[in-house]
Symmetry: C2
Subunit: 356 residues, 2 copies
């Protein structure tokens, strides 16, 4: 059972999820003395049609009406993560006694420790969203139609979770390439949802609320306006969306994609905008894929918590982090990023690349 | 010229340092269309004796009194980083007009943008500390005596910087292995110093001050006491130091090394403790090296700012982050770490490994 632990110094929560060490390619260096499950090492792609039994039973799928669940015939398939970092409360409370004891042994605040150490079961949802039955490995290999379908599935999944008791926020993300933390090649997203807002999004909402209070407008709307006037950091624009490299990019070639009109939650997006978003995002990401071989990037959806009505100060967006440099001791030890490519240089190069 | 940029949403500063893209192995993926400087690609190790001219002139060295500076005969050598992320104010103000104009072009808050975007020259010090003239690549390959000399050099360097105007904090760190961000094999540390306290250390000092206010004792001293009672997370102990895997470890096999008696700054450490620290740290780190091949880890010194007298609530320490899993979209997008190895499991395995 994964558990949450609070860092007593920084008041920062960490998820300890030992089952995740069992994933194929969980470690990037060869682990000495490790036992490798031979079944895992040799398994075929668990996300390809025909191998549906290799994943936990699906939570949801876009599929041919005639087709059976957990069998071929799907376009997008959503399954629980086999190695979850967050588990549903029902699973947590149903865990066998042995599991509970083992979990307590691993999360051992003893009476004397309780003023310092704090832990809790890691309750939530951890899904995998398989974008396409085709064994492709990058967003650029999807057709715009396939990407739109995958975004539609994410939208539906978020709408369903919004109604669940105990769930208040979801983070959807995609790891593409080994250097970006992908342990399975077949293109997929993950969705993690919990009762509290994830720290970075909570920080963004707080910063944006401060700006709104002072200036009476959405900070993201203001940034979009400034970026369109300045132009030097803009990568691409469509009718309803804009992609630019943010002024204080943490990563080389970092790129954000935002709706040009104010909107605080992804899942409320009008269906007619899905194709526009899929087309713009796909071609902007394909530019990043053309820049580095092999491609390695993360894609993250930042959207409002479920409990807030549409809010005036927060603006949903997608952040793309190419993983072509390695944050090292300075970054991890200081909390300050060093980026060797300015967003102006990055955007100029990305604009030049022809990718459709 | 590197510049600092403020993220308007998260109020987080980022260093944009374009010269760092020129480093050999600056990018982990093959950059398409990139121009590679053939001299850089083929150069011999710039940190080995005989190649002293390959680095900027040394700032400081522990060397044979008879030997000339910038020539063989040294034990530990400190040189300015050739690709700095922070530059001295004198360098910044002496930069040619073209440089300044280029820097402005890259950091372009226009009048309309000033309420949103903020930037400043990245002023400070960025040194490289070459641990040994021998071309070794890991801490475990050093003798305890060599590591003690290298720690002594860091101590002297911090003492010197403490007296410099405009410098208030230093972060010393080591990147070992390509997966940990090392771009040169020859073992070395880096030192970055600036006028303000780096965010993560500022956060630690703030959290520790809160605990001190409530409980009247140093949080780190309390943690050491609890860890010694519990024992399950302790890796090793010497007369004056302890190494343990912290309760809320962010990384698999993360390990901290602290003085057992309260001390807020590394550079005030009694000389007679250097050998003890070097011996304990070297063998504890060698355990991590034995666990994964090839070794990849960062080592970070967290110590008090220079302007504070010895403080009761902060406790200097060394953090070691093995880089054997890759923080992916969830970690970068949520600000929350997922660690697949509990510190209890990690410490138990590290205790078993015999490394001297």
């Amino acid at each position: 059972m994964p558990n949450l632990r609070r860092d007593p110094i920084l008041d920062r929560w960490v998820i300890i999820a030992e089952d995740r060490a069992k994933r194929p390619r969980a470690f990037t260096s060869r682990e000495n003395f490790a036992q490798i499950d031979p079944d895992e090492a040799e398994q075929a792609c668990p996300f390809c049609p025909g191998n549906e039994h290799e994943t936990p039973p699906e939570a949801f799928a876009l599929r041919d009406h005639a087709a059976e669940p957990n069998a071929p015939g799907w376009s997008v398939r959503v399954v629980p993560n086999k190695y979850p970092a967050l588990v549903r409360e029902s699973v947590a409370s149903l865990a066998g006694e042995t599991d509970v004891l083992r979990s307590l042994a691993n999360a051992p605040p003893m009476p004397a420790e309780r003023s310092v150490y704090d832990s809790a079961p890691a309750i939530g949802v951890h899904d995998v969203i398989i974008d396409t039955p085709r064994h492709v490995t990058t967003v650029g290999e999807l057709t715009a139609e396939e990407f739109a379908l995958s975004l539609a599935a994410i939208r539906l999944r978020l709408q369903a979770l919004a109604g669940e008791t105990g769930i208040n926020h979801a983070l959807v993300f995609k790891n593409v390439g080994t250097a970006a933390g992908a342990t399975l090649d077949h293109l997929h997203s993950q969705l993690m949802a919990a009762g509290t807002v994830f720290p970075l999004v909570a920080g963004e909402i707080c910063g944006a609320a401060n700006f709104y209070e002072t200036h009476g407008e959405c900070l993201f709307c203001r940034m979009i306006q400034l970026e369109r006037i300045n132009g030097s950091r803009v990568v691409a624009e469509s009718a309803a969306f804009i992609a630019f490299c943010p002024f204080a990019s943490r990563f080389a070639y970092e790129m954000w994609i935002l709706p040009k009109l104010h909107a605080s939650r992804f899942e409320s997006m009008a269906l007619e905008n899905l194709a526009d978003l899929a087309s713009l995002a796909r071609s902007a990401i394909a530019k990043i894929e053309r820049l580095f071989q092999p491609p390695a990037y993360n894609l993250v959806f930042h959207t409002s918590p479920f409990d807030s009505a549409a809010i005036e100060h927060y603006h949903w967006h997608i952040e793309v982090f190419p993983r072509v440099t390695i944050p090292a001791g300075f970054e991890w030890g200081s909390g300050c990023a060093v980026n060797p490519v300015s967003p102006e240089t990055a955007a100029a190069r990305l604009r030049e690349i022809d990718a459709h």
